[in-house]
């Protein structure tokens, strides 16, 4: 293994929809870049999420946004196009391929091809296939849990379906890279709520028991950073004896329930869950800087 491949780290961030995946991914990437390491933050899909925070649009080519930090938005079609161009050595043929109406429809509809293209691009440097990405870290704001599993499964399924030939080889290489703990780290973002925790547990079970990877669970919007359950209980007990307004009493009850739930959910999750406080900030660079600071513990672990 060369020096370069040994150095590149892949950070995949997933979780149920709405838990704050993109925010955690951005905070993580900022934290890494602040250490002076060249970092690429990658978002997926047709629309940019990060454009609102940095005030610019992002595309396939990395755009510099902060010192040592670049942002790119990958679409499967672009990944595939680049890959074909690289393999075929003749970009004319690759161009032709994608200008072809039939091929366009095919790429859009063939099962697992899109996921495979993304996973292939992501792992191109460690596998030494395709144009290398010159970054020390790639942080992927990946899909939500269900689709994320599809992303991990696409190369496995493909290798099973197509055992021989270049496609099978490539697929096995992608899976090997994603399974290597010294290269790939998987972060699962969750909330102290039923469904996000349920999805986290399911994914963790799959990753640790079937896939053979570790998970780093980050519980977002935690209240435990601000409050201890006991102190809220003490306050509630005192307030019951006073003339405090009903709304305040109700709010205290709610706070107690939230803190109890959070404790219970943490007990259900594997050990070593990291917590991230509720920031009460709209999506912005300011929010990401704050999250980057809070994630130091996660990055240094």
């Amino acid at each position: 293994m060369s020096e370069i491949t040994a150095n590149q780290k892949l950070h995949l961030v997933t979780g149920k929809g709405g838990v704050g995946k993109s925010t955690v991914a951005a905070g993580l990437a900022l934290n890494l870049s602040q250490k002076g390491e060249k970092t690429l933050l990658v978002e997926l899909g047709e629309r940019s999420f990060y454009s609102s925070a940095w005030g610019q649009e992002f595309g396939f080519e990395p755009t510099s946004v902060e010192p040592n930090l670049w942002v790119a938005r990958w679409q499967a079609e672009d990944c595939l196009k680049e890959y074909l161009g690289h393999l075929l050595k003749v970009s004319k043929i690759a161009e032709l391929f994608f200008e072809n109406r039939v091929m366009k429809a095919l790429v859009n509809s063939a099962p697992a091809l899109k996921e495979l293209a993304i996973a292939g691009k992501l792992t191109s440097r460690p596998r030494k296939v395709g144009p290398p990405l010159g970054f020390e870290h790639i942080v992927l704001d990946a899909y939500s849990t269900g689709h994320f599993r599809a992303l991990l499964n696409a190369p496995i399924g493909m290798a099973e379906a197509v055992g021989f030939g270049p496609m099978g080889e490539q697929s096995r290489g992608i899976t090997d890279t994603l399974k290597r703990r010294d290269i790939t780290k998987i972060y699962v973002v969750t909330l102290p709520e039923e469904l996000p925790v349920k999805e986290t547990l399911e994914l963790d079970d799959y990753l640790t028991n079937q896939y053979g990877q570790e998970t780093c669970v980050i519980m977002n919007k935690s209240l435990h950073g601000d409050f201890q359950l006991d102190e809220v209980k003490i306050l509630s007990e005192e307030v019951v004896k006073t003339e405090a307004p009903g709304s305040s009493r109700k709010y205290l009850e709610y706070l107690e329930t939230r803190l109890t739930d959070e404790r219970d959910f943490r007990n259900q999750l594997p050990e070593g869950v990291h917590t991230l406080e509720h920031q009460y900030k709209p999506t912005s660079k300011d929010l990401y800087l704050k999250v980057a600071e809070s994630l130091s513990e996660v990055v240094d672990a």
Partner: protein, 372 residues
């Protein structure tokens, strides 16, 4: 404001993940049942308490059951969609014979398609909607769409699946009798070159699987084509309305505008935007004098938390007002407060209906804006 929804036969609740879509779909269902309608709520994967409130925790998948314990003149029924089963039965229904269906089930690419590929859940939930509509059993059907990154994914995903069956792709892969190779069938030189390029990098086994897959799909295309027209007709019908359920963050809210535009392009209409948790739970600062020093410390921390929260809501509300001004007048917007009550059973849903009704009647008063 809500009453306009009563003119509809179908309500599609869309929105990105984690915004309370399933809860709001059920709440709308309870509300419509209270208005005397016979309602069906179709959902994918509700949280335990909600499943319990809807009586879904013990019922069979794909089998609607009536929700018990509601005070309503109408009826509420709920059903949980089993994606895999609906996909398979759809294939069986469209296939010309049992053999064709079995062949497709055996294809390794099909297995990926029906279980893990994005878009298949959207596809099957539309199929479930169409089946429920055709049954003629309900006055109103509310579809809770599958979790997705963007609201519009719901409309795009089925198109992608339908596209699989279309002639334009499949014809290039159809083999003739005997061992006439794939490429010999190709008429278009460009496609031929492109396919050889694909084969060069993927290997012939992949092309074979792919070809087999599309060939099996092609047998189904006539039926599937009919079905896709019916789905499109239903979604663009005047009696079908979309409700966008969204979170309060700026990044989520911008989606509303795009969604309205995208729906219009698709010939459908956005009836209502429900902004969830758009007002903080009320809390009045406690009288410190009555508290012990330890409790005072905690009370102060709550004050700080509420202050941070209120600043956040102020910034967001400003953004929300700008957005509302840009939405077309045919779309109403309702901002729901954060609900801190425990939502348990049918009563919990009835409480949410009350909150919805109060919010709606406030929004109807012309002088009142959507201030916090």
């Amino acid at each position: 404001m809500l009453d306009r929804l009563l003119d509809l036969d179908v309500i599609v609740c869309a929105g990105s993940g984690g915004v309370g879509k399933t809860t709001m779909s059920s709440t709308l269902g309870v509300w419509a049942a209270q208005q005397g309608k016979k309602v069906l709520v179709l959902t994918i994967d509700p949280a335990k308490r909600l499943a319990n409130a809807l009586g879904l925790d013990s019922s069979e998948l794909n089998k609607p059951g009536q929700v018990q314990g509601l005070k309503a003149s109408g009826e509420l029924h709920a059903s949980m969609i089993d994606s895999q089963e609906i996909f398979d039965s759809f294939i069986r229904k469209c296939a010309p014979n049992e053999q064709a269906a079995e062949r497709l089930f055996a294809n390794s690419l099909y297995k990926q398609l029906s279980t893990t590929l994005s878009g298949s859940q959207e596809f099957t939930s539309l199929e479930a909607l169409l089946q429920a509509k055709e049954s003629g059993n309900y006055d109103l059907i509310i579809l809770d769409t599958p979790p997705s990154q963007h609201a519009i994914d719901f409309l795009r995903a089925p198109e992608r699946i339908f596209a699989l069956f279309q002639k334009s792709i499949t014809q290039w892969f159809i083999k003739g009798s005997g061992d006439v190779g794939l490429f010999r069938k190709l008429v278009n030189q460009g496609t031929k070159t492109a396919l050889s390029a694909l084969e060069a990098v993927t290997g012939s086994k992949f092309i074979q699987e792919l070809s087999d897959f599309f060939e099996s799909m092609a047998e189904l295309q006539d039926e599937v084509g009919q079905r896709s027209i019916q789905v499109h007709r239903l979604l663009s019908s005047e009696r079908t309305g979309f409700v966008l359920i969204t979170g309060f963050d700026r990044a989520k809210l911008v989606e509303a505008e795009k969604f309205q535009r995208d729906l219009r392009t698709a010939g459908a209409s956005l009836s209502l935007v429900l902004v969830n948790r758009a007002k903080p739970a009320s809390y009045e600062s406690l009288d410190m004098k009555t508290l012990s020093s330890e409790a005072q410390n905690t009370a102060q921390k709550i004050d700080q938390l509420k202050k941070r929260e209120s600043e956040y809501f102020q910034i967001q509300t400003q953004f929300l007002e700008e957005l509302e001004a840009r939405l077309s007048s045919s779309t109403n917007m309702l901002c729901l407060p954060e609900v801190i009550d425990d939502i348990v059973g049918a009563e919990g849903l009835e409480l949410l209906v009350e909150i919805l009704k109060v919010t709606s009647s406030q929004a109807n008063q012309p002088q009142e804006g959507i201030g916090v």
